[in-house]
C-alpha cells in the first residue's frame, strides 16, 4: 500500500495546497478541533473529531441562493451560481463520511439541489481511520466500521506511517496527483491496529445499542409512545443538537436587503424551534414534545421509511456531548426499544 511517513505529512499538505484548497482539522484549544483552511506550518489535530461536523463543506450554515434587483414594478433575478473550485477535506472520520451519503439522499434526489451538488462534485474526501474511539461513539450501531472510514480515499495510521487506499475514481486521481511523494510500504501492522480499535469499540459503553426496534414499519407505534413526554420534558428547544449533527439538513430561506439589491439566503434551521412550523392559522407542532419527537422520529423512523431502511444518524456522538440537558438520541433509543 502507498504510504508516507508521519514526518513528511506536512510536506504532503503543502503539495496538495499548491493546487487546491485543503482543509484539515486543527486544534483551537487542546482537544477542541475544527476544520481550517490549511496554511503551511499548521499541525493536524489529534483530537478524535471536530466539534462541528463536516457538513458545512457541502451544506454551509448560510449561503446565497440568488440576488434580485427590484426597481419600480420590475424584478430581475440574478443567478449568482458559479462552478465551485476543487477542494480537499483531509482527516474526515468514518461517521462524518457516512453522513455525506445521507445528505446525498436528500439533496441529490430529484429535483437535485445544484448548490449542494456543485460542492459535492468538486470536493475530495480523504478520511482517517479511527484508533481511539470515544465513550460517546456508537457508529457501529449503524453498521459503520471506523477502521475502514470510506470517502474518496481512506487513510490509515500505524503509528509511524500514513497509508492511502483510494475508493473512488476521484480518490484514485487524488492519490495519483501526489504519488511521487508516496512510496510502497509494508502495511502488515495495520491489521493489528484495526483489530485493536475494534476491540476498544466493543468495550465502549454504547456498543450494545441496536437499531432493531426502529425503522419505518414502527411509525405509528413509536409516534404514539407515552415515553415522549418524559424524554422531552427538559428540552428547551435550543437547537444545539441539530446544529452539531452531521445529518440534520433542515433549512430556512430568507431575504436580506443590502441597500443595493436583495440577497436570498439559505441557512440552517432547526425542527426544535417553535416557529419552524408556525403558520398564519396555527402551528402543526405546538409543543416542545411534538418538536422533540419530530427530530428523533425523523432519524429513526421517517428517514428509514423513505430510504430503504437506512437510518438518519451515524452515531457520531456530538449530540451526546453537546446537549445542555444531556438528552440525546441514545437515551431516546433506549427508552423506546423493545425490552
Amino acid at each position: 500500500m502507498l504510504k508516507i511517513s508521519a514526518s513528511n505529512l506536512n510536506a504532503l499538505f503543502d503539495r496538495i495546497a499548491e493546487k487546491q484548497t485543503l482543509y484539515i482539522p486543527v486544534d483551537r484549544e487542546p482537544n477542541v478541533s475544527e476544520y481550517k483552511k490549511y496554511e503551511s506550518g499548521m499541525t493536524m489535530s489529534k483530537a478524535l473529531n471536530t466539534v462541528r461536523s463536516a457538513k458545512d463543506f457541502f451544506f454551509p450554515q448560510t449561503e446565497n441562493l440568488a440576488e434580485f434587483k427590484v426597481s419600480g414594478k420590475t424584478i430581475e433575478v440574478k443567478d449568482i451560481r458559479k462552478e465551485n473550485e476543487d477542494f480537499v477535506v483531509f482527516g474526515v472520520r468514518a461517521c462524518d463520511a457516512r453522513s455525506f451519503g445521507i445528505l446525498d439522499k436528500v439533496f441529490l434526489s430529484e429535483p437535485v439541489d445544484s448548490f449542494y451538488k456543485n460542492r459535492r462534485e468538486h470536493g475530495t474526501i480523504v478520511t482517517m481511520a479511527c484508533t481511539r474511539p470515544a465513550e460517546t461513539c456508537f457508529c457501529t450501531t449503524f453498521g459503520i466500521d471506523p477502521t475502514v472510514p470510506g470517502g474518496d480515499v481512506s487513510v490509515f495510521f500505524d503509528g509511524e506511517n500514513y497509508f492511502f487506499l483510494d475508493n473512488t475514481p476521484k480518490g484514485e486521481a487524488f492519490v495519483a496527483s501526489v504519488s511521487d511523494m508516496l512510496e510502497d510500504g509494508d502495511a502488515s501492522k495495520l491489521a493489528e491496529v484495526q483489530e485493536n480499535t475494534r476491540n476498544i469499540m466493543k468495550k465502549l459503553p454504547l456498543s450494545g445499542l441496536s437499531t432493531d426496534s426502529f425503522g419505518g414499519e414502527r411509525l405509528m407505534e413509536h409516534f404514539n409512545s407515552d415515553k415522549w413526554a418524559e424524554l422531552s420534558e427538559s428540552c428547551f428547544g435550543c437547537g444545539t443538537c441539530t446544529f452539531v449533527c452531521p445529518t440534520c439538513q433542515c433549512y430556512d430561506i430568507r431575504d436580506f436587503d443590502t441597500g443595493n439589491g436583495i440577497k436570498r439566503f439559505r441557512c440552517w434551521d432547526s425542527c426544535m424551534y417553535s416557529d419552524f412550523t408556525k403558520m398564519a392559522h396555527g402551528n402543526s407542532r405546538n409543543s416542545q414534545l411534538e418538536r422533540f419527537r419530530q427530530r428523533f422520529m425523523h432519524k429513526l423512523v421517517y428517514f428509514p421509511a423513505n430510504n430503504n431502511g437506512e437510518f438518519g444518524c451515524v452515531g457520531c456522538g456530538r449530540c451526546l456531548s453537546k446537549c445542555p440537558i444531556s438528552m440525546n438520541i441514545v437515551k431516546v433509543m433506549k427508552a423506546l426499544e423493545d425490552k
Binding site: L65, A66, F68, V70, K73, T74, I75, E76, V77, D79, R81, E83, V106, F107, S109, P111, V112, D113, S114, F115, N118, G216, L219, M220, F223, N224, Q249, C250, Y251, D252, I253, D255, D257, I262, R264, R266, D269, C271, F276, T277, K278, M279, A280, H281, G282, S284, R285, E290, Q294, M297, H298, V301, Y302, A305, N306
Partner: protein, 275 residues
Amino acid sequence: MNNDTLIPLIGVVTDIRQDTPDVKTFRVNALEGGKVFEHMPGQCAMLSIPGVGEGMFSITSSPTNKEFMEFSIKKCGCLTTWLHAMDVGQQITIRGPYGNYFPVDTELKGKDLLFIAGGIGLAPLRSVINYVRDKRDDYGDVQIVYGSRSKDDLVDYKEIIDEWTADPNIEVDLTIDNPQEGWDGHVGFVPNYVKELNPSTNKTVLVCGPPIMIKFTLAGLKELGFTETQVYTTMELRMKCGVGKCGRCNIGDKYVCKDGPVFRFDQLDALPDEY
C-alpha cells in the same frame, strides 16, 4: 449549470380582482405572455416579492386555461398584505409547480363528483371544477357545495353565478353562515348543509376548507355512509422549499409539498395526527 428550482422565474400580474373583503384573485402571465409553466389541478406555486417574503399558493386556474394562471390570495400577513397592495403590471417571482394533484385522469375519471368547499378552500378546488367542466364528458354528475361566512366572503362569486349555476350539467349549492339582507339562498354551516342535501354515496368527494370544517364535514359524510377511500382533500403546512428538502412540512414520513398536498382520507388515517 442546470436550472435550480430554488431560483425563481418572473411573472407579471396582468389582472387583479377583489373577490371578498380579504381575498383578491391575481392573474399571472410570463413576461412574454402565456403561462410561466404548466400544472395539474391541485398543484401549487411559490410566489414572492424579493425582500418581503415567499409563500405557497394553490394555482386556482385550470390547466385547460392556456392563457394565464390565477391565484386567490387571502390577506393574512407580511407577504399577502404586500400582494394585496400591488397594482397590475407588478412583477413577482414564481417557482413550481409543486406537489401532487387530484387524480383527474385516473381515479376521478368517470365518477360522480361532489365538491365541498369553505371560504378560501375553494381555491384548489376551482382548478379541478373548471378542468372537469372543460372535459365534461369524462365525468359523471357534478355537484358543488360551497359556503362562506357571508355572501361577500364567497370567492369567485361572479364566476359561480354567471357560469357554474348557469351550467345545466352542474348542481351548485351555496350557503352562508348567518342570515343576511339580499341573500335568499341557504343559511347554515357547510357540514350541516351537506347532511341536509343527503348526496348519494356513490359520489367521489373533494373537500377543502378550514381544518374545523373539514373535520365536521368528514364526520357528516361518514354518517351518510361515505368511506374514507372516497374522500380527497388538500393539506396546508408551513413550507419553504416545496421539494421535500427543507424538512418542515412533513406529516410522519410524508412531505406535504412533495407527496401531497392532495391526500385521500384513508392515506391520512395511516399517518400521525400532526397537522
